[in-house]
Point group: C2
Chain length 231, copies 2
């Protein structure tokens, strides 16, 4: 039965930019699955009302509905046991969850402060109004205030990547010699940026840069070809 | 053949407090190995001159000399394949390296600023002089300056633990249902503190606190019984 992935998109429905949906998309590609992709704008939550919650990504796999990118990865790992593993062992799944929590707590916000206005500019006016209202409430400040001092915040973002940089100086992927879900987690954050923002995040000689390139080119350049900006 | 572990100690040779040596000690216990332990003070580097470098821990396993805690864990994983795995799969080893780099880049310095003067106070005068000179040179400030504002730095340290806290709210160990080397990495940092400092690092209801307790009590309370302070 068909696999469907509901993903967040911009004014251009082909501009798919949720970091979490990108984690799921890479996980599906890792398993050799090409999903039917359904773009969802912020104010089109009715499209995913069937999932009884309001966040993308949503995976529909036959009769099974899975929400939350971590749960989607866990579902794929247990439902599709053939082919390369998304985790590889219980301990690998455990520590991948740590990478997930690290990306969510230590990278997401630092990156959002760099690309927020670019994300805003990818939206149509009605979605811009929704985005401004909800994010300004969440941050307790205007979008412009949250994204001020971008050059200074860039240094904080690069500093937040220190553990990934050290690991990727020693091995090609966060999961070791071959990429696995631990990589797609952080890579999803970078795709959020690539699909919305022309801002240069990484120095050319940063091991994270070379790693990102490897993943951009994976799966016949699936991520490199996505609607977005050069990195 | 006997396994020997050279560990950093204080004025009291039984006070063994290197975070890295604690990682190795837990890894050895995980493999059911009770090493002969040789305490080394900062200015007793001649004891490990045979290793051709100046840092503890040093593991001597028969004819094999291994330095650096990560290399020691890798050695134990490949040399002792029986019993519970320290990693569990190539991907688990890869992501454990990420945890290692995270602890080294994001936790170590934040913790050192909290316990520095307590570490200093565990040393005899000759080692104190060495410690003061080398650390003041490294930090570019006096020990007292580096450890000022401890209550404020405590909040930064607890914030740095955010990814571990999120993971440990969802599963009992960083490696999943059972502890593995990913856990011993961060736990080594906590043992550095416990063995030198009475300062309370964690709130009682922090999931990291409960996790630390579980590891303190592991291996018949090996870590809980170490010369140090209550946590």
């Amino acid at each position: 039965m068909a696999v469907k992935l509901y993903e967040l998109c911009g004014a251009d429905q082909k501009r798919v930019f949720s970091p979490y949906a990108w984690r799921s998309r890479m996980a599906l590609a890792h398993k050799g699955i090409t999903p039917e992709r359904i773009p969802v704008r912020f104010i089109e939550k009715d499209k995913i009302a069937f999932s009884n919650q309001k966040l993308v990504p949503v995976l529909v796999d036959g009769e099974t509905v899975v929400t939350d990118s971590w749960a989607i990865a866990s579902h794929l790992a247990s439902a599709y046991t053939k082919g390369p593993a998304l985790f590889g062992s219980p301990a690998a799944l455990g520590t991948a969850r740590f990478v997930n929590d690290w990306a969510n707590t230590s990278v997401n916000a630092a990156l959002f402060s760099l690309i927020l206005m670019d994300v805003f500019n990818c939206l149509d006016p009605a979605n811009q109004a929704y985005f401004r209202e909800t994010r300004e409430k969440r941050f307790g400040m205007t979008l412009e205030q949250f994204s001020a001092d971008r050059e200074k915040k860039l240094l904080a973002f690069r500093a937040a990547l220190a553990p990934a940089r050290a690991t990727l100086a020693a091995q090609p992927y966060l999961a070791g010699d071959q990429p696995a879900y631990a990589d797609y987690i952080l890579f999803g954050n970078f795709m959020w940026a690539k699909c919305t923002s022309p801002f240069k995040l990484l120095e050319q000689d940063d091991p994270v840069h070379a790693w990102r390139d490897r993943l951009l080119n994976r799966f016949d350049g699936m991520a490199a070809k996505a609607v977005g900006f050069p990195v």
